[in-house]
């Protein structure tokens, strides 16, 4: 069984932006340990000589023509927003900086 600590789960929860209580972290750590133990089986047959498959059906070069088509109306674009301010999405203050 793969050992996974509460701190590991806390790190993953941070990366995936999910708040978790200590109890949830503990519970998740034990569940994840069991699941990882089971799924780690893939390593038994995944040898170096086997190429990975990311797409089941091997297509390539699927392109669009560079043509402008109608966008949504601003009303439609904003229709699901929890909050708006005029034509913009209104969100809580963004701390930190973009990449």
């Amino acid at each position: 069984m793969a050992a996974i600590s509460r701190d590991d789960v806390a790190h993953l929860a941070r990366l995936s932006r999910i708040e978790m209580s200590d109890a949830e972290l503990d519970h998740m750590a034990s569940e994840l340990g069991v699941i990882l133990g089971a799924v780690a089986r893939v390593q038994e047959v995944a040898t170096d000589d086997i190429p990975p498959t990311s797409h089941a059906i091997p297509l390539h070069n699927v392109f669009r023509e560079d043509v402008v088509k109608p966008s949504l109306t601003p009303e439609e674009s904003l229709s699901g927003a929890p909050a708006t301010d005029g034509p913009r999405f209104k969100v809580p203050q963004i701390l930190g900086e973009a990449e």
């Binding site: 392109f63 023509e65 973009a98 990449e99």
Partner: protein, 499 residues
Amino acid sequence: MSMNYDAAVAAYEPTLGLEVHVELNTKSKMFCSCSTEFGAEPNTQTCPVCLGLPGSLPVVNGKAIESSILIGLALNCSIAPFSRFARKNYFYPDMPKNFQTSQYDEPICVDGYLDVEIETDEGPKKFRVEIERVHMEEDTGKSLHVGGSTGRIHGAEYSLLDYNRAGIPLVEIVTRIVPGTGKYAPQVARAYVTELRDILRSLGVSDVKMEQGSLRCDANVSIAPIGSGKLGTRSETKNVNSLRSVERAVSGEIERQANRLESGERIIQETRHFLEESGQTRPGRSKETAEDYRYFPEPDLVPVTPDADWIEELRKRIPEKPSIRRKRLQEEWNVPAKEMESMVNAELLDVVEETVKLGSDATRARSWWLGEVSRLANEKEVAPTSLITAAQVAEVIALIAGGELTDKLARQVVEGVINGEGTPREVIDKRGLKVVSDDSALMVAIEAAIAAQPDTAERIRGGNIPAAGALIGAVMKATGGQADAAKVRELLLKHLGQG
């Protein structure tokens, strides 16, 4: 600071690396058909795809692929026979899917170079900047921060998001580290970005406007004691928005790092922001740990595998390298370097060349475009090339050369063309602008007179010379009495076989 730039580069060897982001000028976005036009009302150029709505799927803009390959070819890169998009996972509100679709370990172009030349104490010197990769990605939306006292991100009470820019195609061009520039690192950096900008412009793949953000540069700088043979810890400076800033940012960073090392401090690997006013950099977000982007191949897109024929077809479209072309044109036209630079900066080199190709004298072509046309364009706040074509300017220049127009009259013709009064000929006709001593100009009036009085002309052809008086009178009237009547008579009779 205790150590100035000269002292810094006397003690330390700088190493440079540059990442340039270019917004492509495709009509539609990278993965959807929304318009890319700059300056639209917020969120009017958005759709389920670029808003990252649940269920939406991306489809690659073929033109963006073509532009990326063109860039790679112009930078002497190999075009990858197989490349792929990946997802770069991190959360940020101006990125609708909370992952950026980008190329990661399988970029479209690799292993190129760009040679740049700078002036050194020993004269002109060439540096080869090696290109590690050229890859495609998508731009983010824009956030506006409201409420805080400074207007900067910190202290804002809330933020407003506009996703018009989200999904605009970006190409990132990454250099390998550029060693051995010594104290010329800032100049090399500037020369590289300048040359790159000119190449991109000549390819027609981007607007390359640094001030509008369609070309953005991040400068990676590290320093190490001269002779140590080591590489120092690098910083990455963002927000460098002009060619001059590229140079200043690099020199400023070298100076800052040298002072840190001199005072016994370590250099921290970090992102810094360039401050236009002071020429300094300030630290950006400090990260406790390196971000884990969890890249994996984008399952919603399929691999890009350009075949050799397509690549060769595109290779034929690569124009002459701008710096080489400039040198050639400068020699051919015999213009001072400064004038050449003016034309380049005004983005008039192409149209001047076109005008010259249509038969105009290079000096005249240059002075018309940089002078009168640019002056009128400035008044109207538009690009000179949007007012008048190379062919029209060439025609005007030919008319001057042929003696039909003086410079003064020509300016009126140009003004007329720009006002939409028609071709130069039509403007001349409508406004009656002619140096009428000229043979060909007079001939136009003579032909008009003949056309108006065909019977009279026929009589003259039949030998009735005195009948010419009526036509001469008409020509004199048409030219406002400015023509030489004897000359008119001579030309008229010759034209009608009586000369």
